[in-house]
Each structure stands twice: as C-alpha cells, then as structure tokens.
Symmetry: C2
C-alpha cells in the first residue's frame, strides 16, 4: 500500500514546498539563542499561572475541563476586546474568534479566503510561518518590498496598476505586519497606512493585519490598521496574540473581523474550544496586574534591544547594516556578500544562533544576505557574548577565511 | 463591501450545510442533561490537575509556556503509545501525532485525504461532529446501517460490489467507531471486524477508526481494528482521545498511522503544539495512578448505564426499544411514531434533555424516531428522575396528547 496514493489532489502542490519548520535552525543545546522569538523567561508569568490555575480549579472545579461551561472562557473574550481598545479598535463579541495562537488564526483565514487560483500579496521579507500557511493554499503571490518605513506602498500600487493594465488577476488579500514587523522590526508610517487602505478600497482587496507585536512598543503605542476607520475597518481582518505579551505555550490568539467572516472561520475551527487553556489565561488576567506587567515588559525589551544595537555597533564590520526598531522582538541584519545559511554552521560552532534571512522570502534567493536576530529570549550577558561571537563569524565569512 | 464575495470557492458548498453545533440542544439551565457526552464530574481529576500544574511549573518553570521545550510533551507521546498497547497496538513515535482532541484529528485526516470528488463511507447513524467535518470537504457519501452488532458489513459489501459493477466511484475511506459506538453504543463483532478489513484490502479503501470510547468498557476490553494486523494495520488511521477517560477540556487526542500520513497531517496542523496543555496532562499522567482511575471509571459508568437501562424499562412505553451497550457513554432509543426533534421542546419544559436522532444521520429523515441518551454526566438520582420525565413526555407524544 502506498500512503501517498490516497492523498487528496488538493494537498499535493503544498507538499512540494519545504516542510514546515524547515527554517528552525538545528543548534547545539549550549548555543546562545539569538534565533528564538520566545519571550524573556523572566517575563513569563509562571507564578501567576500557578496561582491562577489553583484558583480556577477551586472556584470552578470540573467546569473548565469539560467541552463547554467555564464562564471564564467568555471573560477572556471580553479581555481581548479591551486589549483591542488599547489599539483603538471597537470590536463586538460576535466579531471576535479566539484561536490557538496567531498561526491558527492565519490558517483559518487562509482556508476561508484562499483557493488555488487566489493571488495573495505579501511583504518581502515576512513571517515565515505565514508564508508556509499561504503556500498550503495557493502558489500565486505578489511580493512587495519592506524598507525602514514598512511596506513600500508605492511599489504595491505600481504592481497593482500594472496588473490591472495587463488584465492580470488582482490580489484578493494582502498580508501585512504593519507594526514592529517580523522579521525587519520596522513599522509602517502613517502615510503608508493611509495609502495601503486607500489601495485596498480602490483595488478591492482585504487586508490581514498581523499585530502580534503591537503591544510590545518601547516608547509609544500606535493604532492598528483596523482601527483607522471608525474603530473597525471592515476590510481588515485583524490577527492578535497573547504569545508575545503573556506566553506562547498557552496558545491564545484571535481574529477580529466582520461577523460574516467570523462565522465562516468558526465553521472550520474543528479543534473546538480550548476551555482549560482559555480559562487559565482568563484567570491570570483576572488576578494579575497586567498593566504593570506590560510596563515592565516594554522596559525590558527596550533595554535589551538597545543593548543588542550597541553591541552590534561594537562588534560587527561596517559593511553590516540594520534597521532600528521601536518595538517588537527582532533586529534584521544585512550582511553583504555573505550567504547567511552557509554561515549558520560556523555560528553554531562558535555558540550563537540566528535565523537565516532566506526563510522570510518567497523567493529565497532574495534573502541570502540577511539574518534575523532576536533580543527577546537571551539574557543581557548572552546578548553581548552572542553578538561578539557573531561578529567573529561574520568577519571570517566576509574575509573568506 | 460584501464579505461573502471574498470567500474561497472551495468553502461555498460546505456553508450550505447546517452550521456547526446545530445539533446541540438549547436547554434551560436547570434541565437534567441526558444530552451531554461529558464525563462524570466526579471522574474529572480536578485535584490531580491542580497538583500536576503546580509541580510542572515548579520543576520546569517557563519551559512549558514557550513554543517548544518541555520534555513532558515528549513524555505524553510515550504515555499515548503505552495506552495503545492496552488496545493491542504497537506504534512507533513517528507514527503518532498529538492533536487538539479527536475532532482536530478527524479534520486533519479529512484535509489530507478528501477532496470534493472523494467518496466517504460512514456508519448510519454516526458521530455528528464527524459528519460535520467530512461535509466540509465533500458531498459524496455511502451511508451503511449499524445494528446491535455494529456496522452491517454485509450491506457495505453489497454497496461496494454494486458500485463496482456499475462503474461508480468507490470510497477512498470508511469512517467507523467500531467499539461502543457514538450514538448507538454498539460494538462491531469479531466476524464483522475481520470482514470490514477484508473489504478494505479488496476494494482498496482506508479505514478511519475512531476509538474515543475504547477504554471505557464495562467488563472486558476489545482490541482495536488497527491492532488486527501485527499490531498496526497500515490501512487503518486510528484516532484516540483522552477526552472521555481524563477530561475533554484539555483537548488531547491523537492519530496513529503510517508515518507518511503522520508527516502529511503535521504539515497542515497550523495550531502548532499546545505545550502547556500537553505538559499539564503529562504531569497528571506521571503523578496519578491512572490504572486505578480507569478501574473506578469503568465501575461508575457500568453502574450508571445499568441504572439508566433499568429506569428505561420501568418508565418507557413498550414500543420504545434500545441496544444494551457494553461500554461507552450512550444508549440509543427508537421511539416509533414520534419525531424526537419536535418532542425536544416538551422534554425541556419537563426538565430533561437528549440529542434528537436526526443529527447522527446524513439523511436526517432516517433519524426522526431516534434519540441519544448519555448516562455519563448526570448523577444517579438525576438519571432516575430524568428518565421518569422522559417517559412522561414520550407517553404524551405517542398518544398524541
């Protein structure tokens, strides 16, 4: 029996791509992990979770362990609505779907919107998991450059108008991370935000706004794209997540969108609800001063980012350049003349890891000279030591030694 | 803007079906819930979970709250492999995928195997969530009767040979719950098990074996279909779950199948892993005497089932009939001459709930005279009182009062 002979015709094109997680560097255990987009271990509310679970189970007993029944699942949704208010959105209960992290949110949106003929516009570079997801549904993409001011909306407009002129198919959807982008750390300017939404209306496409890092600003918060039209632009499907501000292992994300979209997404969410995880998170929210947690979190990441940047200046050759982020988890490096995938083995041997740039591009060739560093997970002394090691490896690669 | 105009062509047929959860009866809060397929509240390991989470977070700190990293996630997989040994299966690590409950397992299998032209064979009646899932992918079904000895494999063979003779498309997959079936409570005999697997080889189809209730036997365990060929028949994709034996709210299920299937399923599992939930479950497993938990569980459900059956004999008119289950959560009633969907309002008004039979049938007309009762969730006095109320409602409906 040949298992593959039973596969659906619909999944066969997807299986031609790289397997999921291919981007994850295989690194020795004692490596300094500048590759990990994990929160700082000190910011993960371990004690709070312990107390929250004990309290939850004392108060609600078996309720959060059945399929349905915990009131706290509903409370979590209310908390999520409040969080969105901080990003200037006014979202009703039937306009939110809680998901298993942002990845499931993006996957459900893709399932509802994208078929094998759909054209999807993405940023270049962009979040590799999202590329993996979209490539499970279609192979038609428009890829638009990101610079220090976020998505080059002028380039997007050129591409759209050219396609229109030539009678080519226009994109149904644009996937963007406008705020503290993964992997570049850049943020779309206000002008470009207005421009991209103008294009969405003009060329009739939807916008998937991935806002996983929106709350992780260093100095000042920025409204979401979705908020720009009376608190909820109907063209924007907003994706939020507690992974970067509370903990990814709880798998709490969500979609905020017009209720017709939410209904269709729920239709296909066949992992049902996750009452224990959602109620536990809800119990943390209820019993923790999250406002002060967020203040601490911003301070910690701001300092770690500044440390990383100053170490980069100290230890990297002048040819290497990067954007200065105002939030998020990442710094994006251009290392001219170096294939960063090839360099990864030496880096691991020196005891430092990163994610090679190519995985963030549809056309991987475009990303050979880039790499993504995270300042979120490693502690301060590891950041300093890690950059020192990286500097050594880069110098050796640049000089061809 | 019309949201529906953006929907993928692939999902439009699915949206023509009943919305998910349509089967769930809307019942007043103080109703006796003979509708709920929830575990007995006394069997949900609330204290054990509390201790397990505290211990987990003391030992592993932030590890289970990141994307990856908790060793206990791997331990859970080993526990699942051991559980399968109790069902006489020998499954390697790369032949298992842990999922968010059995529903996600079935959905992923459907995604990998089924496209809009695929023919799926199902039992009639069968698990309504599975029908919902399959109908999201195809509208081509073969529906084969279940009697007190499980699936009528003779009828399946007739249907297959007739299709072959006529040159009609044959099914790629059969979905079956051979042990303590939902909703009928029946179990496929050994002869029929051998027969169905013979047919699978002869007519070249795969078997999805849903074994959610396999461990909930009253007196004696039965091997799985998958176990029948040297511990793992490659034609069987086995779906397991901890929902019915530990707690559904933890959302732990799995698929055991040939590794080529497991790889393809993982490809599309875009809610990623659920480390906190999986590690917490793993910690319960490690710190609880689950063998004695299973012994208690079997005793409790056996007694509640026997109570339900004896109350049915006492309070229901002679025209009503049912199968006697040897495990599982359910008793399946035939109420001749009564439309059980219409009767539900009266039942709720009397203070008792059930699930109308029609939701377990592809052709809902076939299920009008049936209803599903659960003995798992209600306590003993509620079971007695609930059946008394049901008896009153049925008598009134039968006599047309």
């Amino acid at each position: 029996m040949n298992p593959e002979s039973f596969f659906s015709k619909d999944i066969k094109p997807a299986l031609q791509n790289d397997p999921p997680g291919e981007w994850m560097p295989a690194i020795p255990a004692d490596c300094i992990r500048l590759s990990s987009g994990y929160p700082d271990p000190g910011l993960v509310p371990v004690e709070e979770l312990k107390e929250a679970v004990v309290k939850l189970l004392e108060e609600e007993k078996d309720l959060p362990l059945h399929y349905l029944g915990s009131k706290k699942v509903e409370d979590l949704k209310v908390f999520i609505q409040c969080l969105m208010v901080e990003r200037f959105m006014l979202i009703q209960s039937d306009e939110v779907l809680v998901t298993s992290g942002a990845c499931q949110a993006i996957d459900l949106i893709a399932r509802v919107l994208i078929d094998e003929e759909t054209v999807v516009a993405v940023e270049s570079p962009t979040y590799m998991e999202a590329l993996e997801i979209f490539q499970n549904y279609t192979s038609h993409f428009i890829s638009v450059e990101v610079d220090e001011n976020g998505l080059r909306t002028d380039r997007l407009e050129e591409e759209l108008s050219e396609r229109k002129r030539k009678g080519l198919k226009l994109p149904k959807v644009l996937y963007t991370i406008p705020t503290f982008q993964n992997p570049t750390g850049t943020t779309m300017t206000e002008e470009r935000r207005a421009h991209v939404m103008k294009l969405a209306y003009e060329y009739d496409f939807l916008v998937i706004e991935d806002d996983a890092y929106g709350m992780v600003y260093f100095d000042q918060g920025i409204g979401s794209l979705k908020s720009m039209k009376r608190g909820k632009d109907p063209r924007v499907l907003y994706v939020g997540s507690l992974s970067k501000i509370v903990a990814p292992g709880m798998r709490i994300g969500w979609v905020a969108a017009e209720k017709e979209f939410i209904q269709a997404l729920s239709w296909f969410k066949k992992d049902l609800d996750h009452p224990f995880s959602q109620a536990s998170m809800s119990s943390i929210v209820e019993n923790t001063d999250l406002d002060s947690h967020f203040i601490t979190l911003r301070k910690v990441y701001r300092e770690k980012c500044h440390l990383l940047l100053s170490e980069l200046k100290k230890h990297l050759p002048d040819s290497v350049s990067w954007y200065v982020p105002e939030g998020g988890y990442f710094v994006w490096l251009k290392v001219p003349g170096v294939d960063t995938s090839n360099m990864l083995d030496q880096a691991a041997a020196e005891g430092v890891s990163y994610v090679p740039g190519k995985y963030f591009f549809l056309n991987q060739e475009d990303g050979l000279e880039y790499l993504r560093l995270s300042f979120s997970y490693a502690n301060e002394s590891d950041i300093s030591e890690g950059v020192k090691r990286l500097g050594k490896v880069i110098r050796a690669s640049v000089s061809g030694v």
